[in-house]
Each structure stands twice: as structure tokens, then as C-alpha cells.
């Protein structure tokens, strides 16, 4: 069942978060990659992720066969973390404005990390956006889980 993110969740994942995505191959061996940015398409409920296609090589290969994806979104300064799982995952064309959107998203995350005392050079290398290697993935969310550290981590989230 496909779900639609409520406004609070949309606002949360748009603010500049640390994002990690996972998929798996036909043998159920998982793959994993950082994602640099995301975007919700409110009209159809799809979520777009932006990744470095070299770093996410295995993940991009795995979504071709499984179409499954799991993505964590974390605001480092608050530890608030959610996981969105989805289906119909596929690599899609980059659109005009995607690069700028990704750069701005990464900038917001860098500011959050710097406020925590992280070394600016390290985080900029870690979250480097290479325009030549940018790729987009889209998927339809089907479940959302609380993942902030604690006993409730892993509980499905109410969307109402």
C-alpha cells in the first residue's frame, strides 16, 4: 500500500538531513549508500533521492531487480531519525534544478553538523556533490518507522 507523507513529515525531510539508502539483490544481500538530498513530489506522493552514482553503484543495480528501498533520514543535532520504506524504486532522469536543489540541501546539513562542532572540511568532503556523478532515484513510500535512539526505535509511525 502506498502512503502519502503528511505535511510535518514532508517539512522534516526537506530541511537538510543525513540520508542513507539501502536495497538488496536477488540473494537478499543488502547494498547501502549515502544519499545527498531528497524531494517529495506531493501530487503523486513519490520521493526522489539524489545520490552519487559511483558510490551508489550497487544500490542502483539492486533497485533494478528488487525495486525495494529503505531510507533513513536523520537530523544530527537532534538525533531525530525516521526510516521510510518503499517500492517501485527506480533510477530516473535528472531534471533542471536538481543539482542546485541538492547543493542547497547539502548546505543545510553542513550547517547543522557545523553547529555540532564537526570539522567543516571533513563534512564537505564527506558530502561532496559532484555534478558529473549525480543520479536520481524515485520510489513510492509504503511504510514509515520511528528510528530516533530509544525503545520506540522501529515502531511504525502514525501518519494522521
Amino acid at each position: 500500500m502506498v502512503i502519502v507523507l503528511n505535511q510535518d513529515l514532508q517539512d522534516f525531510i526537506h530541511q537538510g538531513l543525513s540520508i542513507t539508502a539501502a536495497s538488496r539483490d536477488p540473494r537478499l544481500i543488502p547494498s547501502i549508500s549515502k544519499a545527498l538530498a531528497c524531494q517529495v513530489l506531493p501530487d503523486i506522493g513519490a520521493i526522489r533521492l539524489f545520490v552519487n552514482k559511483v558510490q551508489a553503484g550497487q544500490l542502483l543495480a539492486d533497485i533494478v531487480s528488487s525495486q525495494r528501498i529503505a531510507v533513513t533520514y536523520c537530523l544530527p543535532s537532534s538525533h531525530k531519525t525516521i526510516q521510510i520504506k518503499g517500492r517501485h524504486a527506480k533510477q530516473t532522469e535528472l531534471l533542471p534544478g536538481d543539482l542546485e536543489h541538492t547543493q542547497q540541501y547539502v548546505q543545510r546539513l553542513c550547517e547543522d553538523l557545523e553547529s555540532m562542532g564537526y570539522d567543516p572540511d571533513t563534512i564537505r568532503r564527506y558530502l561532496h556533490v559532484d555534478p558529473e556523478e549525480l543520479a536520481a532515484i524515485s520510489f513510492m513510500p509504503d511504510s514509515i518507522f520511528e528510528q530516533s535512539p530509544g525503545e520506540n526505535a522501529g515502531e511504525p509511525m502514525e501518519l494522521s
Partner: protein
């Protein structure tokens, strides 16, 4: 091919690691990992804190993939791993528990970060997601430093020199500001401090029970314990505050204050072992967060191995020492007024006038030496006669006699300038008394 050893900086927790797993229905899951711990060249361990989706998945499908990053180069690596087993006690568990306590305290989540087990994974493959910049790799050469430290230890002629060289080596070779060496008393399950560097008060003679704080845990489990953030559960001074005196062992030295930092941000304790027998614990600490790396832990572990060999080498064997002839002190009038020395036989504590000096085995030895001095005028003694002395009744095999004498020597040097102990040869020493003494023994 990349080796796990090359990636240990990634496990320091500066850039959080994530793990991807998959359930039997093919639904992937991705989650943050509190701690990745290097076990050996083929294994890592992850903390098991909650029975969450990751845990359920690996029990059903043990294949997982980790994403880690180097805090210096920011290079990312994927590790294909296979869950093997969980350890719920023992050295690895304790080491991870201590590290987790540091992380929990940094993030204010002490109640959340409780370790249930150490999940051991076999590492099947390592893949770099991009090339690391060689220019950013650390230039420090740990082997060279280690070689220099080892060469210094070779110069030691006795335990006192050995311990001083160890401390100065740590200061100069590794730029460590605060360090201490504590000798293990396995029978009493405690450690006593014999050498320190970088503290306002030397704290020589202060004691720590096995199992307490980073030092006591390293001693109890005979494993290195490294904490990269202030951790309340491993802050010895705060543990001591919380601990009612009655709960401490009655024989524990509490009158000499522990010299360590009140708020250490980084702590590393390494056991000094000789064939699995605990001789001592080498401890370093810092006000800086994440001051000590895996490489520092390796370095101190190697240094501790060397230290153990030299400690065994420099313990005089009884065969090498002779029972010295009782020597009568040349007639000499001690200077100054008479000083009262009080001895309490219940805990072997010795007071100089009103000031506490020492207790326990070292206190009993001092009292015996002073009694022989007063009754027979003796000043020359041997370790062997102390070991055989029925009045002292030392444990039959007390390999620590030399270090207890050293402790006594240090305490006297700090607290009582008119009674001194000086080594005169291998296993022999001189008692130098420069004031008239009045000895008073109480129960």
C-alpha cells in the same frame, strides 16, 4: 586489497556508521550503528542494545552490509559482513560496554545505551566507494615511536628506573600529558599507584579496586579499555563519591587521594600481563575528546608487553640476593626533636605524628624495619629476609615485594624526609633515619 586494519579510524564513531539488512521477504532495512568495534583482521563487533528490526533480520538472514567512513579522509567504505554470534560477557563485551558508556554520556542517552551483547560479524569483503586522498592520511610513524620507547626501557637497571622511563617515554614519544602506572595486588583484587606523571598530587599509594572505572575494568578483564568521551560509569572519582565507604573493601587505601583528572574526556587503560598474569595497569587520560585511537591502544599494548618482560627481568630472584649480615648503625646522634611514629596493627597503618603515611603490606614492612632499627640498630636489609620474616608473615609468594618497597620509598620521599629507603644493590637496601624516633604500637 583493503585490509580491515587500515579502516580502524572509521570505527572511532566520528562519522556514524550505518547497517543495511534484509528480512526473508526481501524488504531491506537501514539503521544507524552505535559502535563498530574492530575485533581482529576478519571480524568486527556491533552493539546489541535493542531487539530491533536489524537484530530480527540478522537472526533470520545473517548477510548485512555496513557503510563506514574515515574521519580524516571522509572516504566511504562498504563492508559485506556475516553475523556469526553474540557475546554477552567477557573482555570484548566489557570493552564495548565502556566505549558505549562514553558515547551515551556524550549524547546524554545513558539510559538508552545499555549493552545487551556484542554481535560478532565476519567481514567478507571491503569495497572503497571512492579513492582516499593519500595526502590526508596521518604521517605519524607509530613503529618508529614504539622502537624508541622500547629502547628506552632497556636502559632500566631497577624497577624504579623502569617505571620512570615508561612515564617519560609516554610523555615524549606520544605527547601524553597524564599517565599512571598501577601495580596489581591480585590477592586483594586491587591496584596501587606507583608512578604518575602530569598531576598536581602524585597520588602514589592510592588504590583502585578491580572492576571499578576504566582502570579497574581493564584489570578485572585483562583487556584494554578505551573511552573517547566523558563517561560517568567510568569516571573513577565520581564512582568513588557514589560508593558508600562501607561498600569499599576495608583494606582499600582511601586516605591517599586518587590523582586522576576530575573530568577526563578520553581514557585508555591497558593491562600489563606476564603469561596471562596481571602485573599492572598502564593508564593514560586526557581532557581532549577522542584523544586516543586504535593505534594508540596498539602502541600502549606493545609497550605494556615490553614493560611486563622488564618487570620480570628486574625482580631480583632470591637466589641472587644474600641474607645480609645485620649491620649495626654507626653511632650518630640523630638531629632534631624526637618524632612519634604510630602503628595500628589492625590495618598496618603508619602515622608520623598526626600525619597519615601508609598502610597495608607497605605499612607492615615499614613498621618491621623501624622496629629492627630501634631494637638492634640495623640499617641494612635484604628483600629475601623480609620475605622469610615470620613477624611480617607476608604471603608465601609475594612477587610484589619489590614494588611495595618502591611504593614505600616513594611515599617516604614525599611525606617523611627524615626516613628514607635507598637501594644498595640487587635485592638489598639501606634504611636511613635522621631523627630520633619514638615507636608506638596500637591495636
Amino acid at each position: 586489497m583493503l585490509k580491515l586494519e587500515q579502516l580502524r579510524n572509521c570505527f572511532e564513531g566520528y562519522i556514524p556508521s550505518t547497517i543495511a539488512t534484509c528480512d526473508p521477504d526481501g524488504i531491506p532495512n537501514v539503521s544507524y550503528v552505535s559502535q563498530v568495534h574492530y575485533v581482529d583482521s576478519q571480524h568486527i563487533a556491533l552493539t546489541f542494545q535493542f531487539f530491533n528490526k536489524t537484530r530480527r533480520n540478522i537472526l533470520e538472514n545473517p548477510q548485512a552490509t555496513l557503510l563506514i567512513a574515515d574521519p580524516y579522509t571522509a572516504a566511504k567504505y562498504q563492508l559485506a559482513v556475516l553475523y556469526r554470534r553474540t557475546e554477552e560477557s567477557g573482555p570484548l563485551f566489557e570493552s564495548m560496554k565502556a566505549k558505549l558508556a562514553g558515547l551515551a554520556s556524550e549524547s546524554g542517552m545513558q539510559h538508552v545505551f545499555v549493552l545487551k551483547g556484542a554481535d560478532i560479524y565476519q567481514v567478507l569483503s571491503i569495497e572503497a566507494q571512492e579513492k582516499a586522498s593519500a595526502a590526508l592520511l596521518p604521517v605519524h610513524d607509530p613503529l618508529l615511536t614504539l622502537k624508541q620507547l622500547m629502547q628506552q626501557l632497556h636502559q632500566a637497571q631497577d624497577l624504579a628506573q623502569l617505571f620512570q622511563l615508561t612515564m617519560s617515554g609516554l610523555q615524549q614519544g606520544l605527547a601524553i600529558e597524564h599517565a599512571m602506572l598501577l601495580i596489581a595486588d591480585e590477592a586483594a583484587a586491587k591496584l596501587y599507584t606507583v608512578e604518575t606523571v602530569g598531576y598536581v598530587n602524585s597520588g602514589i599509594g592510592s588504590e583502585i579496586p578491580f572492576g571499578c572505572g576504566v582502570i579497574g575494568t581493564a584489570a578485572l578483564y585483562k583487556t584494554p579499555i578505551r573511552v573517547g568521551h566523558a563517561a560517568l560509569d567510568y569516571n573513577y572519582l565520581q564512582l568513588l563519591d557514589k560508593c558508600p565507604e562501607s561498600a569499599l573493601q576495608p583494606s582499600l587505601e582511601t586516605l591517599i587521594a586518587y590523582p586522576g583528572l576530575a573530568q577526563p574526556q578520553s581514557q585508555l587503560a591497558v593491562p600489563v600481563l606476564s603469561s596471562q598474569r596481571l602485573l599492572a595497569v598502564l593508564y593514560v587520560e586526557s581532557k581532549q575528546v577522542r584523544r586516543f585511537s586504535y593505534s594508540d591502544e596498539d602502541m600502549l599494548t606493545c609497550l605494556a608487553m615490553q614493560l611486563a618482560l622488564h618487570m620480570v627481568r628486574l625482580q631480583p630472584a632470591d637466589a641472587e640476593t644474600e641474607l645480609c649480615c645485620p649491620e649495626i648503625q654507626p653511632e650518630r646522634l640523630p638531629d632534631g626533636a624526637m618524632v612519634g611514629i604510630r602503628y595500628f596493627s589492625r590495618d598496618h597503618s603508619v602515622f608520623v605524628e598526626q600525619d597519615y603515611l601508609i598502610k597495608g603490606v607497605a605499612g607492615a614492612i615499614l613498621w618491621r624495619l623501624l622496629s629492627l632499627y630501634q631494637q638492634q640498630g640495623r640499617v641494612q636489609f635484604s628483600n629475601k629476609e623480609l620475605r622469610l620474616d615470620k613477624a611480617l608473615n607476608l604471603p608465601e609468594i609475594d612477587d610484589n615485594l619489590e614494588t611495595r618497597l618502591l611504593l614505600l620509598q616513594r611515599r617516604l620521599a614525599e611525606r617523611c624526609d627524615f626516613i628514607q629507603i635507598r637501594k644498595t644493590g640487587r635485592g638489598s637496601f639501606l634504611l636511613d633515619v635522621r631523627r630520633a624516633l619514638q615507636l608506638m604500637c596500637q591495636a
